[in-house]
Structure formats: C-alpha cells, structure tokens
Subunit: 443 residues, 2 copies
C-alpha cells in the first residue's frame, strides 16, 4: 500500500515533543505495525522563542493553526494545546473538516465530550483520547473495547499523580502539606498554579470521562462531588498510620441499585480517604496512577502505571495515531460506534446527592483537656446517628496546654449527619480547633 | 444497518456456556456497542448427555463441527474446545474458509500460532485470542494496541491461577504442597490432572504468546526454561517469610542488551521465585493473575485480575467477538496487521541458555549437626564463585536427631555454577537430604 498517514500537531509542549520523538525514533516499527508510514506535516507551536530543532524541521514548524486545520492533506489532527479554548474550536473545526482527532485534553472532553463525539459520528471520523486519562495506562481502551461485553459495577482510582506525590511525601516523610507541595513543584510534578491538581478538579474531569464510558450515561464534571487535599495535615497522616491506613485522593464511581432491579443513581465522588495499607491502591505511591474496575463478569481488575509525564502520555497519543491510522487505511473510521459516549445516544442519569451518601468516617476532635468534653462529643455523635466503631484519645502531656486529640472511626453514617455532627461539636465548649472529617474506604 | 454477525461455537464447556450466557443476557448492550446483533447459529458440543437447555435452544445444538465449519453463513468461529487436535484442524479449516476466528486456546497458539496467524493474513480475516492468556485481563489488547507505539523491555507475570492458589495456601496456612493441591482441586481451580498447571507448562504457553507480541520474535514453548512448583515445601515458604519474601511462580521475559547496542538474546523463564513482600506481585494472591510490563516509554505498568474462571474468560471471548464484528461491519478485517505475530514477518531470535542466566538464589542445605559441615559447604560455594549475601543457621534442638537447616541467600551467580554447587554439596558427608535451590527475584 502506498498510502501515508498525514498528521498535524496543535501544541508542542512536553507531550508534543515526546510525541514527535516517538514518531521519529520508532518510525520503522510504527510503519510495520500500522501498515503505512506516519508523516508529520506541520507542528503548530505557541512560543516562538523555544528551540525545537531536535524534533521539528524548520519547514514543519508553524505558529498558525490554520496550517493544520486548513490543510486538506492532513488526515489526523493531534490536539495537545489543552484547556477549553482555543482547543475546543480547533477540535470542532477539524471534525467538521472530516479529519479524525487524537487529543489528550481531559478538560475539554469532560465539559464538551458529548457534543464533540456527536460531531465525530456525524462526520464519520474518529475522536480518540487515551492520553486524556491516566497518561500511559490504557484505561480508555480497556473500558471501550476489552469490557465491551461486560457491565461495569464500580470503578475507583488514583488518577492525579501530583496529589498522589504530595500525599506520599506527607505520609512517608511526615511532611506538612505546603512542604510536600513545594517538593512536587521542584520535582516538576506540580504546575506553578497547582489548584486543579490539589482541589480535585483534574480528578473530577477524569472521573467524568471514565464514568461516561463505564456507565454509558451523559455526565458532566458538576455531577461529581469533589473535595481536595489542601486541608490534610501530617497529623492526620500519622493518625491514619496508627489505624493501619494511608490517605489517598480517590475518584470513585458506582452504579447504585434502584428499586425492583432498575438501575439507581450513580455515586460519583472525588475526595481524600483513609484506606487500609493492605489495599492494592495503598501501594500506588508517588506519581503513579491506578484504576480499579469491578466488572459484573470480569470481577476485579486493577491497572497501574504512570498517569502523567511526557513519555507515558506521548506513548498513548502515538498508539491512538496507530489505531486511527489503521481505521483510515481500511476505510473503517468510526468502527467503534460513538454510542457509548455521544450525547445523541446517552441519557442523563440521576446522581446521588453528596449528603445522601452513606459511608464510614475518620473524625478528629482537638479538645481541651477538661472534664465532660469527651462525653459531650459522644452525645452529639449519638444524637445524629453516627455510630462509633473505634475511639482513641491521646494521652495528655502533664502541664501541657496543647489540645488533646480524640479520633473516632465511625461505622456507616449519612454524610449529611456527619456534617451536622461536625458543626454541632464545633459549638461545644472545650473544642480547641475545628474538627476534621475524612472518609474511610475499604478500597 | 441490517447486518447480523453470525457466530458458530466449537466447544460448550464452562467458558462456552459463559459465552452463551453473556451473549443472551447482554444482547441489547452488545448490539448497541457493536452496531449489529450477534446471532449464534450453532453450538457444537461433545457430550450428548449434558443438559444445556438454559443457554442453547434445541435447534442450535449440534455434535458435528461441520455444522459450523461448513456453514457459509457463519462469519466468526469461536473455538473453545482446547488442546492441539482436533481444535487445530478446525481453526485451519475456518481460516481457509475466510471465516474469522476467536479462540481461548493458548496451547494451540503457543505451538502453531505463527502458522495460524499467517493463514489469517493470507485470507484477510481476523484471529483474536484475548481469552487465551490471563482470562479477563486484557493483556493481549494492551500489548498489541495500547503499546503499538512503544518497545517492551521486559514483562513479568503470575499467569497461572491454579499454581498461585496453591502457593498462596501453602504460604498463608502453612500447608504442604499435596494438601494445598487437594484444596485447589476441591475449589474447582485444578483439573483432575493438574500437571500443566503445576509443572509450569501452562505458564510457558502463555509466556510464549506474550513474548511473541512483546518482543516481535518467532518463539515456541521450548524456548522457555521451565521449572514447576511440585518440589516446593511448607518449610521453604516459612523460611522465605523470615527473609520478608513470598514464593510465586513467575513467568519472565526480558530483552537482553547485545554488543554495540544491537538487541541481544531473549531471557525467557518460568519458575518459582522468592520475591519481596513489598513487591506489587507479592499481593497478587489466590486465583488472581498479574502481568507487569516495562515499556521503554510507558515505564512500569501492572495489570491484575482473574486470569481464569468461566465468566472472566467468556467476557474476553465476547469482547473479541465485538471487536472482530466491528471489523466485519466496516469491511476492515485484518485491520491490525499480523506482522507482530505471523511467521511470514518474524525472525527467530536467540534465547539465552538456562545455565547462562545470572541471578540470585535461595539455597537450603539440611545438614547433620556435626563439626565442619558448614565450613565445607561454604568452601564449595566459594569454589564455584557463588557469593554469599546472607546465611542463616537454625538453632539446634538439644538431643534432636533432626537435621539442622542452613539457608543461604546468594548475590548474583551463574545458574550453571549454582547447579554445580548443589551437586557437589550433595556429595559431602554430613548432608542430611538433597539441597534446595529457588531463585530470588526483586520483581
């Protein structure tokens, strides 16, 4: 076959550079595995001053997206610019011009995926996005293809490497949040503005995409109940260890049973949780990611690997190029129906209100060492139906004026009741500082 | 589209029954995800007396493979009979009749895969086999598609659930091999003849298939150096625990560096090994399987799940049916080039001789408590260049005539030298029973 697969790149940061390196270094094996060579026509960059001569030839470099979007020879547009705009307009233009698209843009897909997949279907082209969720871990392929015959009951993951790096440092080295965050920034894991990584926003984008595929429902990021890791302390990490647990930022999606066997609402949450050290997710440390899938037929399945980083992510981009290229060569674009992800086919599905969630909690109450305080806390817990499984009161240092820590692990309780308990306890006299509540999961 | 995907099943044991159940129970979602319904034309069974009316309609049931192989309407033949023959002849006939094939037959693919993939390519049809290796774990898709852009440096796995169940029982409950094997048979994990599971043969078939895909080389099962678990004892499990290790049956494939950057030989091994309890593979217990892949760009990636069992395996069969069906609907059969697996394209590759392997060992010497025995053993180790990292001599029970156990953990040594050491020590006086040698891996 004399065909060549012609590609245009929009964005040339670390993932773009990695993509070009793989296309260059693995050209022979890629051609063999795809059945045709991949030619990079244009690379559209933003920063005119950055040197790129090691991966981009002068005639390939452009600063005008039109050089890719307006080129009728380009078969596949690789969008690595990130963010909602102008990336969204570029992807729309590409699809409308009957070009297939490969993207790593989780934000765009979480917010506008349904519309974009619909566009791809209308135009008979592919929109692939393995690199958008968990970098090198092939979780999109697994959900879309390996599990095409199964029903996903639940998924749970560590899907943000930056926050996992921070939590691992806090846990293993006893660091405070701000110190661990500074280390993550030094190591190149956290951006100058790390908000989306640490406030759970990035994880909620990824969960939106994963849950859309897993449960076949039309979902948006605001369907996910989100809590970040900014308020976690080294003290809570130490306490977690005393209970044989570590703290992880978990993204959880579950299909709850409804009445009479009908599917109930989805339970979609991103939050820190204390999980047992024996859980397979507990050993997923540093910048690693992991996704645990519970299939009705498959049973449990865990995928672990680097969820970010130039090379793992670029690897997924190029594997998508091979897959989309195979479709182009066999005139089979759109061979994987978009029915699982496009708004034209998916119904909205009810999502459980955060306060309705029933689960276990770690509660920490910093109290003044005065008679009756503990009894009053226990009274409030009882009044709000929060059953105590385990209580631990630190021994008091004689003469110290430091607060004493009381930690309670609860049995299952409604989130709403936990919140009421916290605000009620905060009004008691003898409480030295605001109580802390972190979820317990068996993961 | 009015098209229907027509399927014929050869074999109707537990996986066949599971396949039919999924096709029946998930018919609506399968039709949506594939884009057309799947119709089972015929199910060819062996045992005429087994009741199957819950999944097979009377008019579907047949005992003549010709009803599937000779039916021009059948698009995809699902081969679930297992073994080399008659399964091999059936698959050949199906491919020659331009039918795509989905199979779970690892033995057949390990022995004759190259020929069969070549046939599939010649006839422009698909030969899919996700269920042949690690049941529900989508490792074939990951190697063939997700890693199409990468080079695999090494892979390491626990790929036989029966032996892993036995080892887990021995390790956790202190059971002897024969008792744990009986438990595995009772639990339905081990066949009446468990030879291939416990002697490493089944794992070597799976490793042959995985390594063929991972390293793009023409390999056969006899390229794998194999050792089973039959000689392991509860005592060695207990000793392993004292060194913070557990014993697992590992399947390992590595691409060794050659001279001047050229690829060297492949290192392909199946054998029990002591791995640290902190290794991600150590917590893969019971009937679970796991495959750890080290990609040049991907870095480390671990896939864990049930590697056997009717439903996980049937799930992979049906997902392959969807994938092959998508190719049929878009006239894209053969869209994934067979270049990675077919003999027409692959070269043989040198394989390292087992005795040339350099690695660490656990050695146990049961000795009589007499002066000089230990010194003589240490002398033999030194004579054969086997460096001692750690030595442990059990305290002797006064008056007991039981042998005393001496355990040595070695630094890296050549396998050939370990073998010479063992046979030399066995000739020493004061040795109470044959020494035991098990590999140490850091996994």
């Amino acid at each position: 076959m004399d065909r060549v697969i012609r590609v245009g790149l929009l964005g040339c940061g670390v993932v773009g550079t990695g993509t070009l390196q793989i296309l260059r270094d693995n050209a022979a094996s890629l051609t063999r595995r795809l059945g045709a060579p991949i030619e990079v026509r244009k690379v559209v960059a933003k920063d005119r001053d950055k040197p790129r001569h090691d991966v981009v030839r002068p005639e390939q470099l452009s600063f005008d997206p039109e050089d890719v979007l307006g080129d009728p020879e380009v078969d596949i547009v690789v969008e690595l610019a990130g963010g909602l705009e102008p990336a969204g307009s570029w992807v729309r233009r590409a699809l409308k011009a009957d070009k297939s698209v490969v993207t790593a843009n989780k934000f765009l897909l979480a917010e506008h995926g349904h519309e974009l997949f619909g566009l791809a279907e209308d135009h008979g082209v592919d929109l692939y996005f393995e690199a958008a969720v968990c970098g090198g871990i092939p979780v999109i392929r697994v959900l879309r293809e390996a599990l095409a015959s199964d029903s996903v009951l639940a998924l749970r993951g560590i899907v943000n490497g930056t926050s996992n790096f921070i939590l691992t440092r806090m846990q293993q080295d006893g660091l405070d949040y701000s110190v661990a965050l500074a280390q993550a920034q030094e190591a190149g894991y956290a951006e100058a503005d790390p908000s989306l990584d640490v406030n759970g926003g990035d994880a909620s984008h990824k969960l939106t995409i994963l849950a859309t595929l897993a449960f076949g429902a039309k979902l948006v990021p605001s369907d996910v109940a989100v809590e970040g890791i900014e308020h976690l302390t080294a003290l809570d990490m130490k306490m977690a260890a005393r209970f044989g647990r570590v703290v992880k930022l978990l993204a959880t999606g579950r299909s709850l049973p409804g009445w009479d066997g009908a599917p109930g609402p989805l339970d979609l949450r991103v939050h820190p949780a204390l999980i047992p050290t024996t859980s397979p997710l507990a050993s997923v440390s540093g910048a690693l990611n992991a996704v645990h899938i519970e299939g009705e037929r498959l049973g449990p399945c865990l995928l672990t690997g680097y969820g970010a980083g130039a090379m793992p992510t670029a690897m997924s981009v190029v594997s998508d190029l091979v897959d989309v290229g195979r479709n182009l060569l066999t005139h089979a674009s759109g061979r994987v129906p978009q029915r699982a992800v496009s708004s034209a086919h998916l119904a909205r599905r009810a999502v459980q209100a955060p306060t309705a969630h029933v689960g276990r909690y770690y509660l920490r109450f910093p109290i003044l060492d005065r008679p009756g305080v503990l009894a009053r806390i226990v009274g409030v817990l009882g009044a709000f139906d929060v059953p105590i499984e385990h209580m631990l009161q630190e021994s008091r240092t004689p003469g110290s004026k430091e607060p004493v820590q009381v930690v309670v692990l609860t049995h299952a309780a409604r989130d709403g009741n936990i919140r009421s308990t916290i605000s009620e306890v905060q009004r008691l006299s003898g409480i030295a500082a605001p109580p802390v509540a972190i979820r317990l999961e068996e993961a």
